[in-house]
Amino acid sequence: MSTNGLPAKFSAWNLFRRGLTGESWPPVWRSHDLEGSYDVVVIGAGVHGLATAYYLAKNHGINRVAVLDKGYVGGGGSGRNTAIVRSNYLTAEGVQFYDRSVKLYQSLAVDLNFNVMFSRRGHLTLAHNDGSLRTMRWRAEVNKLQGIDSEVIGPDEIKALVPEMDTSTSARYPILGALYHPPGGIVRHDAVNWGYARAADARGVHIHQNTEVIDIETSGDRVTAVKTNRGSIATPVVVNCTAGWATTIADMVGVRLPIITHPLQAAVTEPVKFFLHAVVVSGSLHVYVSQTERGELVFGASVDPYASYSMRGSLEFTEELAGHVLELIPSISKMRLLRQWAGLCDMTPDYSPIMGFTAVGGFLVDVGWGTYGFKAGPVAGEAMAEAIATNKTPEIISSFGLDRFQSGQLVGEKGAASVGH
């Protein structure tokens, strides 16, 4: 045991020592029997659920916490996203919130003692028409007022950053400019899940995989217990971090959500030599592209245009995606796709999340993450942990309450949330 409580700290010395002695590494996180009661039960072992548990234990000393998942750690949206982080949003509330997340990501590897492969790349959101160029200028001004490095650049500067990009005026959708956000980048999403799981486990959190929540019991207007396929757990606090499945959990306590579940598809190519430094996004062409540290190009698109819980891919998606990517970067036409997949997005009417307390005592939500959940994982976990520990809504998430859909104070992020909804 090392001094920070983590078992078998990852370090050059430990790697060297175990290399010589042949001593094996312990499991990254442990399995436990389900206990009869916990102080907090988090449903969903993705980046949001695990981060919430981790910050509960680390920042607030609450470690009698169970994280339940009907599948495995990081098997939902947390392992299916395209791993982009950025903070160049459209509203002041959004910018402040995601900026905190970018800052947490920058130091996450040290904090968790787990290499999450954060890579600062610079993030380009392309504008192909006057309307989107105007939105880019709007976003740049909002960002600058919040102290975020973000500016509108022209085709020549784009060409200097990404020489492979077709910035000619003869393109089908000529590039007029872009919102350039230097702090944006990518992270290895699996490493973030595993890192949080390991660090939470080391602080006493119990992670229960293959544990499906069947029902949530209430007494009066308070949560009292969670029924699972492995038995019942008494608990005063339940946190719903189940993204695409958020409605199915909220239904158990009668909390109604303004959420529609849509699949979102993504794909990767075979790995090639590193050439694409920036993260490139085009709202008009419904596509985003980045190159991983392994050399694969990761492509994402907009959500499928109908509600569904099905995670099957489609040929139309691949065709459309390939066509649009080649309009931006024609030189990669010989590359082959390795695989494609889909994840579920819990879309809200204003493209902002729903976080905090609900009308049912002890039932908190951290849902409505749509297409931007991964980049918010650390700050969402930190804020939800603070809400649980202090029983008050933290300032940074005060605009994202469920009650805003009754008061009408929506936080419109459609222009900055992702691509082409």
């Binding site: 409605t247 303004p258 529609i260 579940t261 245009p305 509600a307 569904s308 099905s310 009408g408």
Partner: protein, 91 residues
């Protein structure tokens, strides 16, 4: 993408259609409370199972119809003309 049967045009690729959304009763705008109206606007059942929803035959007959679809398997068990579509055609 999925194949959705239009009652008039037969099976169509969903790309030819527009997904309107979950069917839900619309309150009378002149005789409703703010809460009821906002619930109608924003709140959805979003079930993981059978749901009744409205589609629009965008690239075909340009008419509205109602579909019963399973959101996990995308299986469709019924498709019929939308009541208001028929009302507007018969008026």
């Amino acid at each position: 993408m999925i194949t959705v049967p239009c009652p008039w045009c037969g099976p169509r690729n969903s790309a030819d259609l527009r997904y309107v959304g979950e069917s839900r009763p619309r309150p009378q705008p002149n005789a409703t409370t703010r809460e009821e109206w906002r619930t109608y606007l924003y709140i959805r059942n979003n079930p993981a199972g059978w749901t009744t929803e409205t589609w629009y035959c965008r690239a075909g007959c340009r008419r509205y119809f109602v579909v019963e679809r399973h959101t996990v398997t995308n299986e469709i068990r019924a498709s019929r003309p939308h009541r208001r579509q028929l009302e507007s055609e018969n008026s």
